[in-house]
Each structure stands twice: as structure tokens, then as C-alpha cells.
Assembly symmetry: C2
Homo-oligomer: 85 residues x 2
């Protein structure tokens, strides 16, 4: 089976997000005063062959631990869809 | 009202994703052969004061056009939740 995986990687709450602060500052300078708490992270889309969703979830967790996520400062969440691609 | 906005910014299909290719290559070298079509984009979370969801959507569209999205090569999608933060 092919799974379409949408992975969100973001800084843990409490970790200073310099990129988020920079974006928030720029938005304010552009007049968007109603914006608060900007946090910037990574959005990774991939397709994955796996026997079932549990196997896909296991593979994604391993990829996150090995490469995609710095688990000291980052958290992640993933959505799985039976692939169309 | 406060809206919790989850904004995904990603390269349009057909645009070469060098970051995605680099991640795919690293995953292959780590033995994740079942992975294909890796695309990397931005995940931006922010909270926004707005009268209603339509006003929030309008403000986000303007932010994307003014700063957050390069609409020549990028697409975006957003989810809105009445804010808890």
C-alpha cells in the first residue's frame, strides 16, 4: 500500500523561535497588528510504501528519530492518507 | 475573536524541490527505500484577532500575498480554529 504522509515538525513550546519572531516583526511592520504568537516549522510531504498504516507510522517515527526531527527541541505530528500518488 | 491559524506553504507541483531531494537522498542512505516524492515546505502557526472567520481568512490571504508566500512558485493552505491560546 502507498501512504501519503503529511508531517509537521515544530519547535517545542518554550523554545525561543527566532524565525517566528522575525516573521511576527515583519507582519507588524506591514500593519498586521492583530497577529500574535507566530511559530515557524517544517512541513514535509512524502509517499511511503508500507503493508498497513501501523507499519507506515512505525517507519515515519524511525525517520523522525534518525533524521527529520531534533527531538531535544522539536515535536512532530503526522497525518496518513491512503495514497493517490 | 481569536483564531488559531495553521498555515502550510509549499512549492507548486512541477517546481524542483532541492530540499525535498536532499531529504529523500538522506533517507535512502539511511535505508528508508520505501520513501518517494519528498516535498519540504513551511508550517506557520499564529494566533489572530478577527471579527469572524471570513475576516481572519481575508487577513491571512493578505499576509500571504504581502510576505509569507512567493506566489510565483508557492501555494498555500490554511486551517482555522477558534483560539484557545
Amino acid at each position: 500500500m502507498t501512504f501519503d504522509v503529511k508531517l509537521l515538525v515544530f519547535l517545542k513550546d518554550g523554545i525561543l523561535d527566532t524565525q517566528g519572531k522575525a516573521v511576527a516583526g515583519s507582519l507588524k511592520r506591514l500593519g498586521f497588528d492583530a497577529v500574535k504568537d507566530v511559530r515557524v516549522g517544517k512541513y514535509i510531504r512524502l509517499s511511503l510504501q508500507a503493508d498497513d498504516q501501523a507499519a507506515a507510522e512505525k517507519a515515519v517515527a524511525q525517520m523522525c528519530s534518525d533524521l527529520l526531527v531534533n527531538d531535544i527541541i522539536e515535536d512532530w505530528s503526522a497525518e496518513y492518507e491512503e495514497g493517490r500518488r
